[in-house]
């Protein structure tokens, strides 16, 4: 049986989700995504243009394990806004296309909704980096 009081990785993940309004758990970094699904999600977030925190789950397999246990979501990436799971690549892409992603992130959507998710990241403010932070706490 697991004890929540004896699970520093899960606690660090929960704290990171609490402390960052927009946080993406992904494979690789926003500059160097290590998976197409993570790359696509970063591209949608970059297109919205709001800075976001990013955590690379690859350095320690326990991060993914504890994250999925916490969120009840089996795949990576996972986007959280204001402490709530928004979804993975499919949902984030779909919400970008419908304009809902702008709404959720509190950003004024462009006058004309985009037809499809962007293929590559657009230039913008560099995302806040906290990857490996979770590993250091273990």
């Amino acid at each position: 049986m697991s004890e929540t009081t004896d699970n520093p990785i899960r606690e660090a993940i929960a704290e990171a989700i609490r402390d960052h309004e927009v946080i993406l758990f992904m494979k690789g970094t926003p500059e160097r995504p290590a998976c197409g699904f993570s790359a696509r999600t970063v591209a949608a977030l970059d297109a919205v243009g709001k800075p976001f925190a990013a955590v690379d789950i690859l350095p320690d397999p326990r991060i993914r394990q504890e994250l999925s246990g916490l969120s009840n979501w089996p795949t990576i990436p996972q986007l959280f806004v204001k402490g709530e799971l928004v979804g993975g690549c499919d949902i984030v892409s779909e919400m970008y296309e419908t304009g809902e992603l702008f709404q959720v992130m509190g950003v004024e959507p462009p006058a004309e909704a985009p037809d499809h998710a962007p293929k590559a990241a657009e230039p913008g403010a560099p995302p806040l980096q906290i990857q490996n932070d979770l590993v250091d706490r273990s």
Partner: protein
């Protein structure tokens, strides 16, 4: 190695009235995409709809099924 037909059958067997269209994204038998419609999705959020489909495969997601991209709708 799971096949698209096996995935389709398992989704349709697990979720009442569901219709699934499964494709192998890479041809490698581990990256799939499923378009799933089901009557019960009408009462569920998008997150819950996806969780319902993921739950059919449990720990196989991320294991034998490396990736399962989803598109869900109520019907």
């Amino acid at each position: 190695m799971p096949t698209t037909d096996e995935l389709r059958q398992r989704i349709e067997a697990a979720i009442p009235g569901a219709r699934a269209d499964v494709t192998d994204l890479t041809g490698g038998g581990d990256h799939f995409r499923a378009a799933v419609s089901a009557p019960e999705f009408a009462d569920l959020s998008r997150i819950e709809q996806h969780r319902r489909v993921y739950a059919v495969f449990g720990s196989e997601i991320g294991g034998a099924i490396h990736a399962l991209s989803l598109e869900t709708r109520a019907e």
